[in-house]
Every structure is written in C-alpha cells, then in structure tokens.
C-alpha cells in the first residue's frame, strides 16, 4: 500500500513537471536578469549557511 502511494505520487510529480515544462511568462531581458539574480542570491545564502554550519562544528 505504501509503495503504491509513493508510486502514485511519483507519477503525479512527473505529470506536474510535464504540465509546467514551458513557462508562460515571456522570457524578456528583465525576466532573465531577475531569475539570474534569484539564483545568485540563493547560492549566496546557501554558502552563508554552509559557512555557519562548518564554523559551528
């Protein structure tokens, strides 16, 4: 039953990935720039968290 549940959810996730494969927002220069900023921002935060974790050990 548990295996069936996870299999069903896995199929559902793949279905969602397919459904939203193509973004409907036009990828203008501003949009691309904003998404790039968000990526860099997240990398920066992850690095900070890693630094904190390492210095705590």
């Amino acid at each position: 039953m548990i295996r069936g549940f996870f299999f069903h959810q896995f199929v559902k996730v793949r279905e969602i990935n397919r459904k939203y494969a193509t973004p409907n927002v036009v990828m203008s220069r501003w949009v691309r720039g904003s998404l790039l900023f968000l990526r860099l921002y997240l990398i920066f935060l992850v690095c900070l968290l890693l630094y904190k974790f390492i210095t705590l050990l």
């Binding site: 969602i16 939203y20 973004p23 927002v25 501003w30 998404l35 921002y41 997240l42 904190k52």
Partner: protein, 423 residues
Amino acid sequence: MFKISNIYYEFRRIWKAISLFFVLSGPGIVVMVADNDAGGITTYAATGAKYGNHLIWFLLILIPVAYYVQEMTVRLGAVTKRGHGEAIFAGFGAFWGWFSLIDLMVVNWLTLVTEFIGMTSALRIFGIPPWLTVIGVSIIMLIMVVQGSYWTWEKIALLFCAVNLIYIPGAFLVNPKVADIMRQGFVPHLPPGGFNNELFFFIMANIGTTIAPWMLFFQQSAVVDKGTKEKDIPWGKVDTFVGSVMTVVVAIFIVIVTGTILPGINIDDAAQASQMLMKYNKYAGTFMAIGLFDAGFLGAICISLASSWAFGEVFGWAHSLNNKIREAPWFYGSYFFSLITAGCVVLIPKAPLVLITLFVQVVAVTLLPAALVFLILLLNNKKTMGEYTNTLWQNIVTTTIVVGIVILSTLYGISALFPDLFK
C-alpha cells in the same frame, strides 16, 4: 421635504456601500491582522520598550509598504483565478515552482511552531497547560472548517481579528501621555542615541514582520477561494488598505503600552512582557496575553491554510473551504497534519524552540525575495493580466518597496545567523 429625501437617499447609498464592503471584505483584513502574529507582537513589544514612542512614525510608513505588496495579490488572484503557488509554476516553470512550494512548506511549518509557542506561553500565564492549548486550538480550527463554507470560515476569522484590537483599550488602561505620543511619535526623527546598529536591527525586525512569504500565498489563494471577480478588485483594494491600517494601528498601540510601562527594558518575548505588565496593571497585562494568544491563533489558521491551498492548487486536489471534509480529504488532511505536528513539537520536553524561532528568520529570507520578484514579474505579464497589468507608477513604487524589503529582510536573516554582526 426635498432636502430630507436627499439625505435619506445619501444615507441609503452609503449604507449600501458599507454593506457591500462587509460582504466583499475579508482576505485583506484577515491577512493583515494575522500579520501581527506571535512573532510580530514580540517585535512591537520589544520596540516600544526599547525606543518608547520614537519609532511610531516609522510604523506608519509600513502601511503603504504592506498595502502595495498585498494589493498585487488581489489583482493577480482575481484575474488569473490561480493561487500564488500555481501562478509561479505556470509562469516560471517546474523548477521555480517546486522551489517555492517546498520552501513555503518548510517556512510555514516552522512559523506554525512559533505561533504555537506564542499561544501556549500566553495561556500558560492563566494556568492553562500547553497540551490543553494545543488540543483546544485544534478543536476550534476543526469547527471553523467543518462547515464546508468559505464565508463561515472568513466571518469567524474576522471575529478573531476584532479580538486583536484588544491592544487599543489596553493602551488606554496604562494612561499614556497623549501630548508625548503626538510630539515624539508622529514627527519623523531618530530616537535618542541616534542611528546605531541596535536601531538598525529593530528597523530590520519591524520590516521583517511586515511582509512574510505566507501572506502572499494566503491572500491570493483566499481571493480565488472567495470567488473574487475582476469587477470586485476595487473592493479588494479597500479591504487590503483597511487591513494594513488596522495592523499598523494595533502595532502602534502595543508600542504605546510597552513604551509607557516598560521603558528601557529588554523584552525577549511577548509573554514575558505580559507578565511584567501585570505587575504594574493587571488588566493591561491580561489584555496583552489575550492579544498574544489571538495573534498566534490567527497566524496559525492562515499559515496552515496557505500551505494546504498551495499544495492543492499544484497537485490538482479539491482545495476549497467550500468543500466538505470528505470532498477534499487531502486539502483538510494536510491542513490538520501541519497544525497537529507543529503543536506537538511545542509539547516535546526540551525541544529547541529558540533555535526554531531563529531558523524561521533564516529560511524565510530564502523564499521572500523569490516570491516578491515573481509577484512583480507576474503582474507585468500582459498576456494574462490584460488591463490589470502594473502601470509604470505601480512598478516604480512596488519595485522600490520590494528592493527595500529584500535588502532589510536579508540582513535580518543574516543577523539571526551571526548575532554579533549588528551589535
């Protein structure tokens, strides 16, 4: 006679508008008042105790900040009929969609734990044990949704919003000097001591509590669940504006209470402030504790719903408060699962609650900038927004606000990681 009939006509017209407002209002007021959650109450109480009335003018600036951000969710929800989670999936693809959804789940669950910390510590003052608070709160939340009616849920939530106004009579009980409030509070100036790291920390904390990621997801989903149409957008804006005024008014009255009774005292949490207040004025302290419980309760119902709505939208489950529990088992299941697990964490002996509270601030800054940037980009998507696309003026205002919030909330999150940075 003509004059009397004219007055009667005007009265009828105004009364009709007020009645219509009460029918259409809801999501904006609920989200804004719930924004003054347990963490928010602590921030305002600490701000008042530290700086007295000197930062009231700064709190007033938060009215347009909160309004302009949340107003965008009204337009986006009413036009696209999608919640924020689904809108991100559709607008930016699966990667950003999953990132936002998973991050939202984590942030919301951690924030829920902090709401339970607030509720249990508030009721502990009255001798109610935490386990009873968790069970009682869960039962009330079950009663709120068991009707299968969004309208009923919203009106009960509005009732709890009215309880949040308890801080206003609470402030009158401590007899603050009105002349001092007017002189110190409403003229923009720096508090005694000038601009230093500590003041900067308090400014960051106040901004950080004004806009939280769950608020964007909650209001947009609530607008969709309520069935708000494009023609109702002006009412949705009024609803949001009234809510943003209410949230700041409540914050100001908390500042006045602690600024009058507990000046110069360092406050770590609002329950501690309530107990201190009780020594000076029993009723003011009691009101503070009741308000803290109510704030945690409102935060908990909104945050858990924001998660369930987002999950339901993306996974395609029935996800409306208009559904009965048997019609939307996954929606209500996830709602109760997050509530009960968060409540149980508070009951675990020696659970790292302080660490969780700090961790919320850090995790929240991973989602807030993304959610805000997506919001502006979606509001500029002419294809879906049509005539409701952001105007140039709206873009200038909202981008300025978002840049400010991103910088200050990021610094606030970093200060939780490195506490000595701003000391």
